[in-house]
C-alpha cells in the first residue's frame, strides 16, 4: 500500500509552497523529509494525511486518487493513516482515553454510547490495543493519569501511541522529537522502527539529520518548492546528486 503525491502544486494565498512535488511513502519503510524551516514539511504532511486538497496535482492512496471521491469514502483512507503533530495536542482526559480515541471513532454508535456510559460510571475496561500502544512507548502504568499531568516528553509519547493504537498502514510524524531529550527521543525512534517492522509506512519530517541517518530507509530533501533529491541516507548525506543538497547538509545554504 503506497501513499503518494504526483506533481502537486500547493500554496497559501499567493504564496507558492510546492511547485510540482512527487513523493511516495511505502509500506514497511521510513521516509525522512528534511529541509529548512518554512520550506513546507508540515504542509506536505498535511497533504499526505488527506487534511487538505492540493491546489493542483494528485494525492493517491493505494493508487486511488483520494480527492476525486466523496468525503465519506475518503474517510476510509484517512482512517488508515496516523498523524502525530509537532505539539502533542492531547485531549483534556485520561491517558487511556487519549490512546483509545482512534478506536472509539471507528466503533458503531451503539458501542460508542455504551462505552461512554461505562466510563461515566467509572468502569474503564480499557481496549487492549490502546494499552498495547501505550506499552510500546513505555507508558502503560500511566494509563489512568490525567493527560494534563504528563511531562512534555511523555505527552509526545502518548500522542505517538494514540496514532499507533488503531494500527494504521501509514504513520506521519511532524518533527515528533524536536522538543524532546535524548531518552524520550530514543523511545520514539525505537517505536518508529517497531512500527516499520510491522509493515507500517512511516513518513517523518525532521530537522535532525542524525535522526534521519539513524532511522530512515530513504531521505527526501525539500528545497525551493520541490523535492530536489530523494535516496538512501548514505547517498543523500555522503554523495548527493544535487549540489544544493550538499550545501544544505554542510550548512552553507542558509535559509
Amino acid at each position: 500500500m503506497t501513499l503518494d503525491t504526483i506533481d502537486v502544486h500547493h500554496g497559501y494565498g499567493t504564496e507558492t509552497v510546492f511547485d510540482g512535488v512527487s513523493l511516495s511513502v511505502r509500506r514497511g519503510e521510513v521516509l525522512a523529509i528534511i529541509g529548512p524551516s518554512g520550506v513546507g514539511k508540515s504542509t506536505l504532511l498535511r497533504l499526505l494525511a488527506l487534511f487538505d486538497a492540493p491546489d493542483q496535482g494528485t494525492v493517491r492512496y493505494g493508487g486511488e486518487p483520494v480527492w476525486q471521491i466523496p468525503e465519506w469514502q475518503r474517510l476510509e483512507y484517512r482512517r488508515r493513516i496516523g498523524m502525530v503533530f509537532q505539539e502533542a495536542s492531547l485531549f483534556d482526559a485520561s491517558v487511556r482515553r487519549n490512546a483509545e480515541y482512534g478506536l472509539r471513532v471507528r466503533q458503531s454508535w451503539p458501542d460508542r454510547i455504551r462505552h461512554e456510559l461505562a466510563t461515566l460510571v467509572g468502569r474503564t475496561n480499557g481496549t487492549g490495543d490502546a494499552i498495547d500502544a501505550l506499552d510500546t512507548v513505555g507508558l502503560r502504568e500511566k494509563a489512568d493519569q490525567d493527560a494534563s499531568s504528563l511531562s512534555g516528553g511523555e505527552a509526545q509519547r502518548v500522542a505517538f501511541a494514540r496514532a499507533l493504537a488503531y494500527e494504521p498502514d501509514v504513520l506521519l510524524l511532524d518533527e515528533p522529537t524536536s522538543d524532546l531529550d535524548p531518552r524520550n527521543t530514543a523511545v520514539i525512534e525505537d517505536a518508529v522502527l517497531e512500527a516499520k517492522n510491522r509493515g507500517i509506512g512511516v513518513g517523518i519530517a525532521t530537522h535532525d539529520m542524525h535522526q534521519a541517518e539513524r532511522i530512515a530507509d530513504r531521505v527526501a530533501v525539500l528545497l525551493e518548492n520541490d523535492v530536489i533529491e530523494i535516496g538512501s541516507p548514505e547517498t543523500v548525506f555522503e554523495n548527493p546528486a544535487d549540489e544544493r543538497t550538499r550545501k544544505f547538509i554542510d550548512g552553507e545554504l542558509v535559509y
Partner: protein, 239 residues
C-alpha cells in the same frame, strides 16, 4: 417582626396554605426556566460551533445579533413573544397566551444569546491542534465537534448556568406573556418566583415576598457557586 411565641403561632397555622403556594410557584419557575435553558442549549451549541469554525454569508450579522441579544431588554422580548402567540401573531393558532409554554418561549429567546455568546468564547478557545488531532485519528467533522464540546465543557457549563441565571431572575417577559396567573386554591399556573414577588410586595404581603425572594437568591447563589467551581476546575490544562 418579633419572634415572640404569640406572634409565631398564628403564622405557623397559616403556613400549610402558604407552603403549597410557594411550592407550586417554585415548581412552575423551575419547569419554565430549566426547559427554556435546555432548549436554548440544544440550539446554541451548534450555532456557537458554526460561528466559531465555519465561514458563511451573514456570519458577522449573526455574531452581532448574539451580542445584542445578550443584553436585550426582557420586556421587549415579552412584548414580541406575546404578539407572536396572540391571535394576530404567526403562532396564534397554538393558543399559548398566558401559558407556561409561552413563558418557555420568551425565556428561550432571552437565554439563547447568553448561552451562545459564552459558549462561543469557550469553543473558540479550544486549540486548533486538538481539533486537528481528532480529525487526524479518523474522526469525522461531527467527531471534531464533539471533541470541541468536550474540551470546552467547563466554559459551556458556565454558559448554561449563566443562561439559567438570566432566565430564572427576569420578570419582564414572563409577566407579559404568562400573566402571573394562580388558581383559586392558590396554586400557580403561570406565576413564577419573580412575578409572585412583584405581586406580593405590591399587596403588602412582605413575609411571603421575602420567602420567595430568599428562595430566588438562594437559587442564583447556588448557580453562581457552581460557576465559580467550574471555573477553577477548567484551569488545569497541560502545558
Amino acid at each position: 417582626m418579633s419572634l415572640e411565641p404569640a406572634t409565631v403561632a398564628p403564622l405557623l397555622a397559616e403556613f400549610p396554605f402558604e407552603w403549597n403556594y410557594i411550592r407550586s410557584i417554585v415548581r412552575v419557575s423551575l419547569y419554565v426556566s430549566i426547559t427554556a435553558v435546555a432548549l436554548s442549549t440544544a440550539f446554541s451549541l451548534p450555532v456557537a460551533l458554526l460561528v466559531g469554525f465555519r465561514e458563511f454569508p451573514g456570519k458577522t450579522l449573526l455574531a452581532s445579533i448574539i451580542n445584542t441579544g445578550m443584553g436585550f431588554p426582557s420586556v421587549v422580548v415579552g412584548l414580541v413573544v406575546l404578539f407572536t402567540v396572540s391571535n394576530e401573531g404567526p403562532l396564534g393558532s397554538w393558543d399559548l397566551v398566558f401559558t407556561p409554554e409561552a413563558m418557555i418561549l420568551s425565556q428561550f429567546v432571552l437565554a439563547a444569546p447568553v448561552i451562545t455568546g459564552v459558549s462561543l468564547a469557550a469553543v473558540s478557545s479550544v486549540e486548533q491542534n486538538v481539533r486537528d488531532a481528532a480529525y487526524a485519528m479518523g474522526g469525522t467533522r461531527f467527531d471534531v465537534a464533539l471533541v470541541t464540546i468536550k474540551e470546552a465543557r467547563y466554559g459551556i457549563a458556565t454558559a448554561v448556568l449563566a443562561g439559567f441565571g438570566r432566565a430564572i431572575s427576569e420578570v419582564g417577559s414572563v409577566l407579559i406573556v404568562g400573566g402571573n396567573i394562580a388558581n383559586a386554591d392558590g396554586t400557580s399556573v403561570t406565576r413564577t418566583l419573580t412575578t409572585a414577588i412583584q405581586l406580593e410586595a405590591r399587596q403588602g404581603r412582605f413575609r411571603t415576598a421575602m420567602i420567595l425572594g430568599a428562595i430566588l437568591v438562594a437559587l442564583v447563589l447556588l448557580v453562581n457557586a457552581l460557576v465559580v467551581r467550574l471555573g477553577n476546575g477548567g484551569g488545569g490544562r497541560y502545558g
